[in-house]
Amino acid sequence: MDKILEIKNVKKYFKLANKKIIKAVDDISFNIKKGETLGLVGESGCGKTTLGKIIMGIYKPERGQIIFFGKDIHLMDRIEYRNLSRKRQMIFQDGLSALNPRMTVKDILEEGMEIHKLYVDNRIKKVVELLEIVGLTRDSLYRYPHEFSIGQAQRIGIARALALDPKFIILDEPISSLDVSIQAQIINLLLEIQRERNLSYLLIGHDLDIVRHMSDRIAIMKSGKIVELSSTEEAWNNPNHPYTKMFLLQE
């Protein structure tokens, strides 16, 4: 299978005011294949969100390579990098605060298309199509984020991520802020989209049952390092690292 993303020896250190150094991400390597979900779990503060932000290009790593579709992002020219931003998207934990409160749903979904000059003739058709995929109706077009519930806002976030036809999506705890009866709906939606479009996911989360259900492989992080990386079955049935045992089997 072709690799969508390769991470090689990535490090990110934060310097504190008292000259102490926090190794948030400390020498991490892994790859993600086409159509695969990699689950990334760990306690709060272990660096999993920092790693997600590095992959999104929000943080610049100290050391290491991030290779998308066979090319190091630091060696990309401006056009290549811009094209990459179409293919890599992110869905956030708090669906409502991830949307601009001053923009209508139509504007939110069209913004990326405008930047990338896509679907110039029939943008509105594409936007309605996206809304239907995520289970919203046409009359949400001219409404603002505050008129929606958190579950619906999360659906808009998913539609926005899909607007540019990505190949790879980072899901940063996509359902932990949702109500129980809505969680299952969003999980089903994410799985369905993945199947239809052969997407790759990096799923960051702390609800182990959900990560286990959605992931093909799982990486367990502890203080900036990956202590175990194996198939989901393997990790639960036959964990190697003592921390994995403690972390996964605590129930």
Binding site: G45, V180, S181, L191, L208, R212, H213, F247, Q250
Partner: protein
């Protein structure tokens, strides 16, 4: 039996807010009780009225022009709804205490945590400072904080999530309250800390025989922890009973849906999950009948306009659903076609 003594009884509580001329019914007529030394879990989604119920008991929500609170809240022969704000102040924090979801917005950011524990001791028990200091060190130690003498002088921002929640519990327990209300105390925590906080609450209930009301939206959390369970939906209690009994035999279609949509271990990876279609009701326009009927696959004509009385399914296990009425001929109530 001493165990059976009721410490709190809520009778026909109704809370509604007035917003631009709309009446928002957050809680519509609920009644329940709490025994001494019991852990009562209230489970519901956002907007189901569970937090408003807790806040009414604490007297944070009272009768104002924009808020209407009806019904009785009886704490040991004392009706809390009749008390003045000053009288309520002697009960709040000392007899009934509350732990909130988010410690960082509940603690005073400019005050050392030790001082914040002392505050309630000095107010309610009129202790001298030196004794209050000793007691607050003890309170910190009781919630599992090591070297409390050091932590006494820290500020809230220096705490981690689990630590912050422990400090909140320490403050709530400082005056040895009879009732501890926990409003989603573990939602913001990761799974390790969740477990630790649950263990801590269990220990407290065991040692001090404090009665605990535990509010959450996470059914998984309460399985081996709570004694009784109330399921709330749209401001009503739709099902109640012992946790073990409800888990074995969930009866209301909503409860059944909740238990079914929890991830089960038998599922194959990436298999489609069971979902309750639709979304929770908007309290601006609640249905006249059962609040769940728009999402319910078994809804009947009667559900649209008439609310079901609570019907006892088994000892202490009650459900408010027409499917269980003795005249109802339908067989879905036995859950046979749930599959």
């Amino acid at each position: 039996m001493k165990e059976r003594e009721k410490v709190l009884e809520v009778k026909n509580l109704k809370v509604s807010f007035n917003s631009n001329g709309h009446e928002l019914k957050a809680v519509q007529d609920i009644s329940f009780y709490l025994n001494r030394g019991e852990i009562l879990a209230i489970v519901g989604e956002s907007g189901s009225g569970k937090s408003i119920t807790a806040q009414s008991i604490m007297g944070i929500i009272q009768d104002y022009t924009s808020v209407k609170r009806e019904g009785n809240i009886i704490y040991k022969d004392l009706d809390l709804t009749t008390l003045s704000e000053k009288e309520m102040g002697t009960i709040r924090g000392s007899k009934i205490a509350m732990v909130f979801q988010n410690y960082s917005s509940s603690l005073n950011p400019t005050m050392k945590i030790g001082k914040q524990i002392q505050e309630s001791l000095i107010k309610h028990q009129d202790l001298q400072k030196a004794i209050a200091y000793k007691k607050s060190i003890e309170a910190l130690r009781r919630v599992g904080i090591k070297n409390p003498e050091e932590w006494y002088y820290q500020y809230p921002h220096q705490l981690s999530g689990g630590m912050g929640q422990r400090v909140m519990i320490a403050i709530a327990l400082a005056c040895n309250p009879d009732i501890l209300i926990c409003d989603e105390p573990t939602t913001a925590l990761d799974i390790n800390n969740q477990r630790q906080i649950i263990n801590l609450l269990e220990e407290i209930q065991d040692k001090l025989s404090t009665s605990i009301i535990f509010i959450t939206h996470n059914l998984k959390l309460i399985n081996n922890f709570a004694h009784r369970l109330l399921i709330m939906y749209g401001g009503l209690i739709v099902e109640r009973g012992p946790v073990k009994e409800i888990e074995k035999n969930p009866s209301h279609p909503y409860t059944r849906g909740l238990y079914k949509s929890i991830l089960q271990r038998e599922l194959r990876p990436k298999e489609k999950l069971y979902t309750i279609e639709g979304s929770p009701p908007n309290i601006k326009n609640l249905p006249k009948g059962c609040p769940f009927y728009p999402r319910c696959q078994y809804a009947m004509k009667i559900c649209v306009n008439t609310r079901a009385e609570e019907i006892e399914v088994k000892d202490g296990h009650k459900v408010a659903c027409w499917l269980y009425h003795h005249l109802c001929q339908r067989t879905e109530k036995r859950g046979e076609d749930f599959g």
